[in-house]
């Protein structure tokens, strides 16, 4: 499939535009907080504009081919090129990263976490955006690696500076896990390079050459990439950094982490590991499938044990990413389509859940489930939104979450011909049980936080107000329902959850040709 090179400046513009905003912001003093917010938002909107232009210019009839393709010399000494392109697999995630950044910017308008300093916070966010978008367009392993790593430091600082109580521990854990994973990934990339004749790091080239690698070697190379990507996903047993990072990160950090960063790992499997080394992928698929299902059950049980709302949502990510990985491990058209859909759906839904959690935390100054109750009474709108997201997250048909989970489970019924049918059917049954657990923990969470009477702790001073002793209760002053910034930031996500839930074909149509091309090798 030859790539198409029309309008190929679009991708580079969309990826690097945020850095232009960063440069401008660097020149403006820190105390111009409003100006910084404006510039950051305008930059993010401009980037989104480029993203929309990309959507418009994308040739949907050719979505199996790489479009806007650029292939120029970059580091000639190691035969690595600046190779970028977009196809049906990467388009949804590329665009989602831009949308999420804009929404997070809007949310940040009046939600800059302590200790403040919007300049630094927003600059880090824009750098993150470049790293995320770049990872999804890179078609060269070295370029991919560089973009993959660009997100590391901004996220580290976002957690470590603007995070919660345990932020230093959480950020260090995040950093070390990711660093360890990427070291192995880089080694695997290098091995791939040498085993294909040290010609090129370009992914399309490696896809044609990788099949010739000796199977034993390919197994080892795949193992390196597997660990590198699995840490990022995160798959059981590499997931332990995630609950800490999510819980301690500021709301914006959690949203970006859940919506985009975790997907860098799954995307790596689909873009690199599987197409380049199909022979090893077949051997590793059962392992991936088993770990994925362990992740589903383990994540769900973990959720049931949590007392902190944010930590619960973090564990639910482990479970949801388990469904995505299960879909990938089947190596079928349906499974990988489901995985890609699940990536976007999880980004929308869990991103939204973290937004809700952030707003609840801001109002009650706690996320301890025991202390929260009666959300629907005190803040009906926020309560309903939380309920909506919980329903979407547990995979209610008609909302986006369903189309990630259900086909993933279904695809395990008939995995790729080389795989063991019995094993995958067993996995299917266990994964289906996982959805029951998901319903349990989400509904239980919702029941405990939203139903019932509000905790007297947060209302007990009601009569104090009536006697005019205002101002002695700071908690109470914070108790307002969804405000306008939150509405603006959340509405697009809520609409998208419904739209993709009702009409999933919108996304499947874009992805399917590329996925069909990808799995062709397993059906010959």
């Amino acid at each position: 499939m030859d790539p198409i090179s029309d309008q190929n400046w679009l991708l580079s513009l969309g990826t690097f535009l945020p850095l232009a905003g960063v440069l401008v912001m660097l020149l403006i003093p820190k105390k111009e907080e409003l100006l910084h917010k404006q510039i950051a938002l305008v930059t993010a909107l401009g980037t989104l504009g480029v993203g929309i232009a990309t959507l418009a210019a994308f040739d949907y009839d050719q979505s199996a081919r790489l479009q806007f393709f650029v292939d120029t010399e970059w580091i000639s000494v190691i035969n690595s090129g600046y190779t970028v392109g977009l196809d049906g697999i990467s388009l949804p995630m590329y665009f989602l990263s831009m949308v999420i950044t804009v929404l997070v910017m809007i949310y940040s308008w009046n939600h800059i976490p302590s200790p403040g300093n919007p300049k630094a916070f927003l600059i880090l966010m824009l750098v993150l955006q470049t790293g995320m978008a770049g990872t999804f367009i890179a078609q060269d392993l070295i370029l991919f690696f560089v973009f993959f790593e660009v997100v590391l430091l901004p996220m580290y600082f976002m957690i470590g500076v603007w995070g919660g109580e345990q932020r230093q521990y959480a950020s260090l854990k995040f950093f070390l896990y990711t660093m360890f994973g990427s070291a192995l990934m880089l080694v695997a990339f290098l091995a791939l390079y040498y085993k294909t004749g040290a010609e090129s790091f370009s992914i399309p080239y490696l896809i044609t050459e990788g099949i010739n690698i000796d199977k034993d070697v390919a197994m080892w190379i795949f193992a390196g990439m597997f660990i590198g990507f699995a840490v990022k996903v995160p798959m059981f047993p590499f997931h332990t950094w995630l609950p800490d990072a999510h819980t301690q990160a500021p709301t914006q950090g959690s949203v970006i982490l859940a919506a985009i960063l975790l997907k860098l790992g799954t995307y790596g499997f689909i873009r690199i590991a599987i197409p380049v080394l199909p022979q090893a992928a077949v051997e590793w698929a059962p392992v991936i499938g088993v770990l994925a299902v362990i992740g589903i059950i383990y994540g769900a049980l973990g959720c049931l044990a949590q007392t902190d709302m944010k930590r619960l949502i973090a564990f639910s990510s482990v479970a949801h990413m388990g469904f995505v990985m299960l879909g990938i491990s089947t190596l079928t058209e349906m499974g990988i389509n489901a995985a890609l859909f699940g990536m976007v759906a999880h980004g929308l839904i869990t991103g939204m859940l973290f937004f809700c959690a952030g707003s609840i935390k801001e109002r009650y100054h706690t996320l301890e489930i025991k202390r929260l109750s009666g959300l629907l009474v005190q803040m009906p709108k926020l309560g309903w939104i939380l309920g909506f997201c919980a329903m979407a997250s547990l995979g209610l048909p008609g909302l986006a979450g369903f189309w990630g989970e259900f086909p993933a489970i279904l695809s395990a019924y008939q995995p790729a011909p080389q795989l063991d049918v019995t094993l995958f059917r067993t996995l299917m049954v266990i994964a289906a049980l996982g959805t029951v657990l998901a319903a349990a923990y989400l509904l239980w969470l919702y029941q405990r936080t939203a139903f019932g009477e509000p905790n007297p702790e947060f209302t007990g001073h009601g009569h104090a107000h009536s006697v005019g002793a205002a101002g002695n209760d700071e908690h109470h002053d914070d108790l307002h329902d969804v405000n306008v910034y939150e509405w603006v930031a959340w509405t697009p996500l809520l609409i998208a959850i419904v739209v993709f839930g009702v009409y999933p074909q919108l996304m499947f149509d874009v992805m399917d040709p590329a996925v069909t091309e990808l799995v062709k090798v397993f059906h010959q």
Binding site: V77, I78, E149, L153, G160
Partner: protein
């Protein structure tokens, strides 16, 4: 008798003045600085630092014109027995540019620091320029004698500079230690060189190469000679186990000189070692390969482990530079393997350039911060980001580059080193790659400790007055930070230098 000596035909060498221009400009410049210093008033001593800076930039001009004109190798001094002993090729030019720019940044960093000391400003810059002249000569030397002369030329002023804080016992200790160990190393090296001359009958590197195995067998004397020379340079580049002087010297010397020693002077040692390995010892890899393997592995591991325990930032950087030195040595372990020499040489050159930019930048931040905190403790960096965000971010960039995090220069330097040893595909290569991979993660731990102080810890004594950074240090920071980022994003800028054919082919290997 005298008459017979005089009667020997002396044919004056043909001098290519253009090729020799950088050295001439430097030599003239340092004389001018010395003279001007005699006649200017005490209050106008800033003139000397300005002159020194201009001298270095002036010397850079011919380097650039030579690089632009062409890629054919030039012999600044050619004549009957001179051709090939002093060479200007792309390899020499990129390194000359590196030394001159590093020197310029050190001058920028020194201006304020030395002015406040109020003594011997002129001499300081004269010594600095002399040392840089030695380094510039080193880049071109392809002969045992010129290598040795260049080495002494660059070392002796450095001994004096290390002892610059003469009223401070640590300064005296630094100078003395550096001097004694330096001389010791020179003596060992010279002994090795004399052995080499004795068995090969020549001092020209390109003739030593073939001669070393001419007799078919590799004798004990050959091995001894190569080993002594490598050990001598191991002292110069402070490779473990010959590193003990480095932390004390770095701590005692004025900080700009520490930066100079840890970057430029170290790089000069590597340059000489690289030239020797590639040109003189290409067939002696049985001897130097295990040697350099041990040096590299020990340097990176022990340097890292000791750096983890440091509480003083300069000492931490001393050990970090030992460990980084191990990474620079790493590609040389496979220099003799067919097909890997090319990438090994490139890796060394790229690493030297990137490391110079990054480490100088880090020291510029250390100088700027120490102006306020008057402390070298790592804990004094607490909360730096909150009151001096620019310095905090710059230090983060430099530390991240040293840790090898893309897209900063350090990642490509490390990548190149890994690629070189993997290119070789030998057991030695894989072994050192694994050791280096583990060390990359260990190193990240102490670099990130400093980042945590800067970003996440409170200001130690609550004193959050902003830091005023002198404009010369600002300039140094802009240059080094720009280079660190640009080299990471567009590594091809230096990647094309250091072609093996340049270094060895022209010499008829």
């Amino acid at each position: 008798m005298i008459a017979s000596l005089l009667a020997v035909d002396f044919t004056a060498p043909t001098v290519d003045y253009h090729a020799l221009a950088p050295e001439i400009v430097l030599a003239a410049g340092l004389c001018i600085v010395l003279l001007v210093d005699l006649f200017v008033d005490e209050r106008q001593r800033w003139i000397t630092s300005t002159l020194a800076g201009f001298t270095l930039l002036g010397a850079l001009i011919p380097v650039v014109t030579l690089a632009v004109i062409g890629d054919d190798t030039r012999y600044p001094l050619s004549g009957e027995s001179l051709t090939g002993r002093y060479v200007v090729d792309e390899y020499a030019l990129i390194l000359k540019a590196l030394f001159l720019l590093a020197g310029y940044v050190v001058v920028l960093m020194s201006a304020d620091e030395i002015e406040r000391g109020r003594y011997y400003q002129g001499e300081y810059y004269v010594l600095l320029l002399t040392s840089i002249l030695g380094m510039v000569m080193m880049a071109s030397s392809r002969d045992l004698i010129s290598i040795f002369v260049a080495l002494e030329f660059l070392s002796i002023p450095a001994y004096m500079l290390a002892a610059w804080n003469k009223r401070n016992s640590k300064g005296n200790e630094a100078g003395m230690k550096y001097y004694l160990l330096g001389v010791f190393a020179s003596a060992i090296m010279l002994y090795g060189m004399s052995l080499l001359y004795g068995v090969t009958g020549t001092t020209l590197l390109s003739e030593i190469g073939p001669a070393i195995t001419a007799s078919g067998e590799f004798s004990g004397v050959h091995a001894l000679a190569v080993a002594f020379i490598v050990v001598g340079f191991a002292f110069k580049v402070s490779a473990v186990p010959f590193h003990q002087w480095a932390p004390d010297v770095y701590e005692g010397a004025p900080t700009p000189i520490t930066a100079f020693l840890s970057v430029a002077s170290k790089a000069a040692g590597f340059v000489a070692l690289t030239t020797l390995v590639f040109v003189a010892f290409p067939r002696a890899d049985d001897v130097y390969q295990p040697f350099i393997f041990v040096l590299a592995a020990a340097s990176m591991t022990i340097g890292n482990l000791l750096a983890l325990r440091q509480t003083n930032i300069v000492r931490m950087f001393a050990y970090s530079s030992i460990s980084q030195g191990g990474f620079i040595l790493m590609p040389l372990t496979v220099a003799g393997v067919d097909g890997a020499g090319e990438s090994a040489l490139k890796a060394v050159v790229v690493y030297l350039v990137v490391y110079a930019a990054t480490n100088l930048g880090a020291f510029a931040v250390i100088i700027a911060v120490a102006r306020k905190t008057r402390s070298g403790e790592i804990s004094s960096y607490g909360g730096l980001f909150s009151y001096a965000p620019a310095l905090g971010v710059l230090m983060t960039i430099f530390l991240a580059s040293l840790a090898g995090i893309p897209p900063l220069g350090g990642w490509f330097a490390k990548f190149g080193a890994f690629k070189a040893v993997l290119d070789a595909g030998t057991g030695w290569g894989y072994a050192i790659a694994i050791i280096a991979a583990i060390n990359t993660v260990i190193a990240a731990a102490y670099y990130i400790t400093v980042m945590r102080e800067i970003w996440m810890k409170p200001v130690p004594d609550g004193d959050a007055t902003p830091i005023r950074t002198p404009s010369s240090i600002q300039a140094a920071l802009v240059i080094t930070c720009g280079a660190t980022i640009v080299l990471g994003v567009l590594p091809d800028l230096v990647g094309r230098f250091g072609d093996l054919a340049d270094l060895t082919g022209a010499l008829g290997r």
